[in-house]
């Protein structure tokens, strides 16, 4: 059945090539996919909540350590990455909007922008990580500050902060990477004009995932980088 015919009669429920046979309509299929994505996002929240809880417990045990170790992270880089990720959330939301309006050219452009911003985020993260590796601000038995951070070596419990820092930002970074793969796939499909105002479910559900990745960073940024930036007291 051609899509032209379905557009004319308006009853594309059983004609749209993207409609699976077990769904009544494109709308039902779309809403089911979204519900499934939300359930998946809840499992993601539960996954991260374990790490947030570890953060809370260890910060309760070592408030001074977390306070000072937080200052060892680069506020300019962390802040820049926050702006980048929020910007990518906006471009992703606009890509979904363009898909809803059935405009594939702008949609592909917004998807590409999202992909580029995600790439910028990971490049900045790479520089942050390599600096921490370089000066030995690492978790557990790898904790061996030297160079211009050598003075930190005398406060052994700082390693706890960096264990949590690398776990949380690392798991978040993996999610950014997965998101980039999904957005790249969407971009290829959008360029081929595969999405329309009737069928854009993949754009919407990947968008939901991407916004969750953004939300997690919205919490990570103040928790890790901004514990206390007031003058040392």
């Amino acid at each position: 059945m051609s899509s032209a015919a379905s557009a004319i009669d308006g009853h594309d429920h059983h004609h749209n090539p993207h409609l699976a046979h077990h769904f009544e309509s494109m709308e039902q299929q779309h809403n089911s996919a979204k519900l499934g994505m939300w359930i998946f996002l809840v499992t993601e929240i539960l996954l991260f909540s374990g790490l947030f809880l570890a953060y809370g417990a260890y910060r309760a045990f070592h408030p001074e350590v977390f306070n000072h170790a937080s200052r060892l992270l680069s506020l300019p880089l962390g802040g820049f990455n926050t702006i980048v990720l929020i910007g990518s959330s906006l471009t992703m939301a606009l890509a979904v909007r363009e898909a809803q309006l059935g405009r594939s050219r702008l949609q592909a452009l917004f998807l590409l922008s999202t992909l580029a911003l995600a790439g910028v985020f990971l490049v900045v993260k790479y520089f942050e990580y390599s600096h921490k590796f370089h000066v030995g601000l690492l978790p557990g038995r790898w904790f061996a500050p030297h160079g211009h951070e050598a003075h930190v070596a005398q406060w052994q419990n700082v390693r706890i902060f960096f264990g949590i820092y690398f776990l949380m930002t690392g798991l978040h970074g993996i999610h950014v990477l997965m998101g980039m793969a999904a957005i790249g796939w969407l971009w290829l499909r959008a360029r081929r004009g595969e999405f329309s105002a009737v069928y854009y479910t993949p754009v919407e559900v990947v968008g939901l995932y991407w916004h969750l990745v953004d939300i997690i960073w919205i919490f990570l940024f103040p928790m890790l980088y901004l514990i206390d930036r007031s003058p040392m007291h």
Partner: protein, 187 residues
């Protein structure tokens, strides 16, 4: 089909739209983005002000507002079928249970056992406190031998209460040395 009653061509912006789509105006997206930028600047600014115990609730509240904005507008929860919101909130209920029952322990240890309320190890530099560096293995201080409290400081017992006064370490008179070491300081 019953679904046809939901058909809103005006919203979908095209004759091909066959289902209910609420296209949010561009200016709403831009407005939310501006709000997120402002709140990011605000949370950075607040971190430079020392407000004591209020710093954490303020930072988390700002993050929560930002997350809510993203969820309601960018993720369309405000316009969606409410069932998606129910799924999210029920998940958050379980996160709250998870947090509450686990944090009962770490947040109240100092109330049960007062001895755990003292910093036994100088974890971080404090103004006016001469902190002896820990040796590489974190167990000894190298024995400067000025006072017994230095030996206690090297004992690496790291259970303590948030908010306890860490300046007690290193010979400060506010805490008797025997409480730091667990044994008489001057036998």
């Amino acid at each position: 089909m019953a679904d046809q009653s939901l058909h809103q061509p005006g919203h979908a912006g095209g004759a091909h739209a066959a289902h209910h789509v609420h296209v949010i105006p561009l200016k709403v997206y831009i407005g939310v983005w501006l709000a997120l930028m402002f709140l990011t600047a605000l949370t950075v600014a607040v971190s430079f002000v020392h407000i004591g115990f209020l710093n954490v609730p303020i930072a988390l509240s700002i993050a929560m507002i930002k997350a809510t904005l993203v969820a309601l507008i960018f993720m369309h929860l405000y316009y969606d079928e409410k069932f998606n919101l129910i799924v999210l909130l029920s998940g958050l209920v379980f996160v709250a249970i998870f947090f509450a029952f686990t944090l009962i322990d770490p947040l109240t240890r100092g109330e049960v056992n007062a001895d755990e309320g003292y910093f036994l190890v100088p974890e971080m530099p404090r103004a006016g406190v001469d902190v002896q560096p820990l040796a590489a293995d974190g167990l000894t201080t190298g024995g400067h031998g000025e006072e017994d409290t230095h030996g206690a400081a090297g004992a690496m017992i790291d259970t303590h209460q948030p908010g306890a006064e860490p300046a007690a370490v290193g010979g400060d008179a506010s805490v008797p040395a025997e409480e730091l070491s667990g044994e008489p300081a001057h036998p």
